[in-house]
């Protein structure tokens, strides 16, 4: 990345030279706040590493750390729930990409009757969340006989995350100059050749953002899975871990090991797309 001259000049402004008390306080408060926001997840890791005998002891830190819970996780029942989570997240992501890519591309490139209606519908779905229509979702899939099925979760997660993907891809496709595609098609590439060789690679950041966002949203989803799965083995990790707490003999270590496995990867994934997510979520609104 090249830094603009204006930017570098600002960096050398006299205010930066000696670290004033104000700046030290500023930085210190930012560090404290940052610490508060990651604290529950640090505590999650510590709890997972507590040795079994210190699991329910009122001490801030255990005497030793123990990786056993992560080893046990794979032999315990929760590994099956992790697999369900993976299936739902991967399935929803593929579904969203298959459906959103053509829709976003076409509505960004062509003016057709019903285009505004379509984009309006997409915006509306972005506003709706499954919680408000949970009973309807339950009734529908109950009648389909799709309770306890991974497919129903993939469908619902795909449907409710479609809007974000269409919106962000639409913005990317619209920003790619038409002339670029026209030049390529004059070189003899067919319509799909242009799409796959020119347009898609240029829109790749948008595709990656939509992909990761959908994956994380489906991975974290709770309320639909809680409603549509009743058999413990068919539940994704979020639901399984929550019902774990209600049991008499709680294996706290496995619970927290599962929480760490369910949490840390998505935080890292999310950090990759963070910059683009805000614009996607507020798309169509900030002007």
């Amino acid at each position: 990345m090249t830094r603009s001259p204006a930017g570098s000049r600002r960096r050398q402004s006299p205010r930066r030279a000696p670290a004033s008390l104000k700046q030290v306080l500023l930085a210190a408060s930012a560090y404290v706040i940052a610490f508060i926001f990651i604290f529950p997840y640090l505590e999650m890791i510590i709890a997972a590493l507590r040795p079994k005998e210190q699991q329910r002891e009122a001490v801030y830190l255990p005497d030793s750390f123990n990786w056993g819970a992560f080893v046990d996780f794979w032999s315990g029942g929760l590994a099956g729930n992790l697999l369900v989570t993976l299936e739902v997240a991967a399935g929803s992501t593929i579904l969203v990409l298959l459906v959103a890519l053509p829709a976003a591309y076409y509505s960004a490139r062509h003016n057709f009757r019903g285009r505004m209606v379509f984009l309006f519908l997409v915006l509306i779905t972005q506003m709706f969340q499954p919680t408000a229509m949970l009973v309807g979702i339950y009734r529908e899939f109950f009648q389909f006989g799709m309770v306890d099925s991974v497919w129903s979760l993939i469908l619902v997660n795909g449907g409710f995350n479609l809007a974000f993907a269409v919106w962000i891809l639409h913005a990317y496709f619209a920003s790619i100059p038409r002339e670029l595609e026209e030049a390529a098609s004059m070189d003899g590439s067919g319509r799909f050749g242009v799409l796959f060789r020119i347009t898609l690679p240029l829109a790749l950041p948008g595709v990656v953002t939509a992909l990761i966002f959908t994956f994380i949203a489906a991975w974290n989803e709770f309320v639909v899975a809680l409603t549509l799965t009743t058999t413990p083995e068919k539940q994704p990790l979020t639901v399984a871990l929550n019902s774990y707490i209600g049991q008499y003999q709680v294996d706290w270590q496995s619970l927290f090991a599962g929480s760490v496995i369910a949490t840390i990867p998505v935080i890292i994934l999310f950090a990759l797309i963070e910059r683009k997510v805000v614009s996607g979520l507020t798309a169509g609104s900030i002007k």
Binding site: M44, A58, Y106, F118, V223, N242, I286
Partner: protein, 302 residues
């Protein structure tokens, strides 16, 4: 007689359908159908096991409105949304200002801020429930060591056990998970404010507070409005925090309308559907406000 359109013309007219169609079908199956099914169910008598036992007219609604807890649940929902969103916006305004400054390690601190946003709300709620555990909860240990709590294990060490202490904690967790997105949306808004506006304010000799109040805030308003509205939707629909931490208990004393809807689903699906329709009606109102405020059409390139 109209001329019969050629195959090519038909194909051309149907072309948009091939590209847009799958998305429309998915929205129809997953979003539109459940809404219709929900409204239909709210007028039916349905057994706990899902067997439709005929029409119930407005009976489900009558039963819902007669519930002793209905009024309290609705008031609590409003308090929940207003309190969480107001606190979130206030805190985020401060944090956006702070993280907009230059200081060493800003990237890392900003990165730390996204953790509650990226993590599943369920996991965050599980962790707060664990930290509030009456016997070994870290927050209770800190309270004890600060002299705010006599001993661990008693009723005083169980903030989630009573509505008066549970509700503030639930609101705190909701604010905790809402602040990151809001702060980032406001930071994006701050980035759009041109530097020369500040230069001008400085030349006029405006104080820091005065500059913030009359320059930054008005220019931040579009971002602020949208972030606040998105938060209202999210918080209204937020289910996992309360479900994981208290299940709406004790009694229905921490239940909002979505929790109440879910609890009713276990006993009377028709009545639960009626509660859903009421919730959905409120969501529609919120969406209408959002569309009015956001002027979405200006953003779509023609």
């Amino acid at each position: 007689m109209q001329q019969k359109p050629t195959f090519k013309q038909v194909a051309r007219r149907l072309e948009p359908l091939a590209w847009i169609g799958p998305a429309m079908v998915l929205i129809a199956v997953v979003v539109v159908w459940p809404v219709i099914e929900m409204i239909r169910s709210s007028f039916l008598k349905i057994s706990r096991f899902g067997v439709v036992q005929g029409s119930n007219g407005a009976g489900n609604y009558a039963k819902l409105f007669d519930e002793a807890d209905f009024g309290g649940v609705m008031i609590r929902s409003v308090v929940w949304v207003v309190a969480v969103v107001a606190l979130t916006v206030l805190i985020s305004l401060g944090l956006a200002q702070l993280f907009n400054q230059r200081f060493p390690g800003r990237r890392v601190t900003r990165w730390a801020l996204i953790a509650p946003w990226a993590a599943s709300v369920v996991m965050t709620s599980i962790m707060f429930k664990w930290m509030l555990d009456p016997e070994v909860g870290l927050i209770n240990m800190v309270r004890r060591d600060l002299g705010l709590l006599d001993e661990l294990g008693g009723a005083a060490a169980d903030p989630l056990g009573a509505a008066s202490t549970a509700m503030p904690w639930l609101i705190a967790v909701a604010v905790f998970v809402s602040v990151p997105f809001t702060t980032y949306a406001l930071l994006a808004g701050l980035a759009t404010i041109p530097a020369d506006v500040y230069e001008a304010a400085k030349m006029d000799g405006a104080s820091t507070w005065r500059t913030y109040w009359s320059v930054t805030l008005p220019l931040l308003r579009p971002a602020l409005t949208v972030a606040a509205l998105i938060n209202v939707m999210n918080v209204f629909n937020n289910f996992p925090i309360i479900w994981v931490m208290t299940h709406g208990q004790p009694g229905y004393s921490t239940a909002t309308s979505t929790i109440f809807m879910y609890i009713l689903k276990g006993s009377d699906i028709g009545e639960s559907a009626a509660m859903s329709v009421v919730n959905f009606g409120m969501v529609i109102v919120l969406v209408a406000i959002f569309l009015k405020v956001s002027k979405w059409k200006t953003e779509v390139p023609r």
